[in-house]
Symmetry: C2
Subunit: 192 residues, 2 copies
DNA sequence: CGTCTATTTGAATGTACTCAAAAGCGGTGG
DNA sequence: CCACCGCTTTTGAGTACATTCAAATAGACG
C-alpha cells in the first residue's frame, strides 16, 4: 500500500522505521474512477496529493470556455494546487482522474505536524518543490522560444510514455494549441 | 546594509539577534554597473542572490539567437538559477544588471550550514520557493490562455512599476512577443 | 554633434485558429 | 453481438494574430 510513497521519499531522505510509521499513519487513501473529480473550482485544496495508480489531470477553464491542462500526474507523482493549499483560498483548477486512480492524501495540519516531528521532511519537500520549479521554468522557456511543433516534440521526448495514455485533446491543451493543430502536426510528421 | 534582506526574512520568520548575526556574516556583497553580467551561459551559479538595489534580468538565448527574459529581479527580490545552483551544472542563462545594481550573495555551502544552524531558514526558503512556484504557474496559465495583448495588460496590472524601468524590448521578450508587436499593441491602446 | 541603439511604422508572410463537416472509435443497451 | 450514440480525431477552407524584413524616426550616451 505505502511502498510506492515510501520509496518515493527514499529518493531524497532516509527515514527511520518509526518515522515511516508516523508518516504513513497520517495518510488517507482515496479511490477515483475514470472521469471523477478530486477537486473543482471553488473547492479548497486541503491535501498534498500523491498518485499511486492511474493519472490525475490538473486543468483550468478560461473565460472563453477553453480548457488548459497545467499538469498530468501519473503514478509516483505528487500533485495538487499549491496556491489553494497554502493560502486556504478556493482553487481555480479542476483535478480530474483520467484513468481509474488511487491517491494518497496528507492533510495540511498533519503535514505541519510532520514537519516538526520529522525534520527531514522539510528537506524532502524542499527538493520536491525545487524540482517542480525547475520543470516549470523549462516549460516557460519552451513557451517563449518554441513553435507548437517544437513544443510537441520536446514533450514527446521528455515524456515518451505519456503519449499512449493521454488523448490528443489533452496533449493539445497542455501544449497550448488546438486539437486540430496537433492533429495536423502529427499528420505532417508521418509524411516525411 | 543588511536592513533590506533582514526585513525580507522577517516577513516569514522571526530570527534572534544571534541568528541574524550568523546569517549576515555569511553574506557577500557585489556591485554591478548597468550592462554588467553576473552570470553567463556555461557558468555555474554558486549563490543565492538577493537584490538590494537596481535590477537583474535573467534571460535565455535560443538557437535562433532570440533573447527570452525569464524574470526581472528588482530590489528586495531573490533571483538566481535554481537548476544550476542545485545541480552544480552550467547555467543556460544570462544574469545581467539592467541598472546599477547591488547584490547580496550566499554561497551554497554556507547556505547548507545555515539550514542546520537556523532551522527557521528551511521554512523561509520553502515559502520563498512556494511563492515563486505559484507565480510561475500563473505565468504558464497566461501563456496558455491569453493573447499577446491580454498578457501585456496582465503584466501591467501585476507589475505596474516595471513599465517605467524596463525597455520595450525587455518587456516584449518577457511576454514572448517581438518588440514590433508590443509597439503596435501600445499604439493601438492610445487610439481608443 | 555624431553614433549607436531603441522604437515606430509599413507591407508581405506564416503559423495557428475558427468554423464546419466527415470519419473513426468506444461504450452502452437492446 | 450488433446498432446506435456520443465523443475524439481528421480534413478542408477561410481568417486573424503575430512575425519577418525593411526603412524611417526618435532617443540615449559619449
Amino acid at each position: 500500500m505505502y511502498d510506492r510513497i515510501l520509496s518515493n521519499l527514499n529518493r531524497h531522505v532516509q527515514l527511520s522505521e518509526e518515522e515511516k510509521e508516523l508518516f504513513t499513519s497520517s495518510i488517507k487513501v482515496r479511490q477515483l474512477r475514470k472521469r471523477q473529480y478530486f477537486l473543482q473550482p471553488g473547492d479548497v485544496m486541503r491535501f498534498e496529493v500523491f498518485v499511486t495508480e492511474g493519472c490525475l489531470r490538473q486543468y483550468y477553464v478560461d473565460e472563453k470556455g477553453q480548457e488548459h491542462s497545467m499538469m498530468f500526474a501519473f503514478e509516483d507523482w505528487w500533485t495538487g494546487d499549491m496556491y489553494s493549499f497554502l493560502s486556504g483560498k478556493p482553487s481555480k483548477y479542476h483535478l480530474e482522474a483520467i484513468e481509474d486512480t488511487t491517491l494518497l492524501l496528507i492533510e495540511r495540519n498533519q503535514l505541519e505536524q510532520l514537519y516538526d516531528q520529522i525534520p527531514q521532511l522539510n528537506r524532502f519537500y524542499r527538493i520536491l518543490l525545487q524540482n517542480a520549479y525547475v520543470v516549470m521554468s523549462e516549460r516557460i522557456n519552451q513557451s517563449l522560444s518554441m513553435t507548437a511543433e517544437e513544443r510537441y516534440h520536446a514533450f514527446q521526448q521528455r515524456y515518451p510514455h505519456f503519449e499512449q495514455r493521454l488523448s490528443l485533446k489533452h496533449i493539445a491543451s497542455y501544449l497550448g494549441i488546438t486539437p486540430e493543430s496537433l492533429s495536423r502536426i502529427r499528420a505532417q510528421r508521418k509524411n516525411t
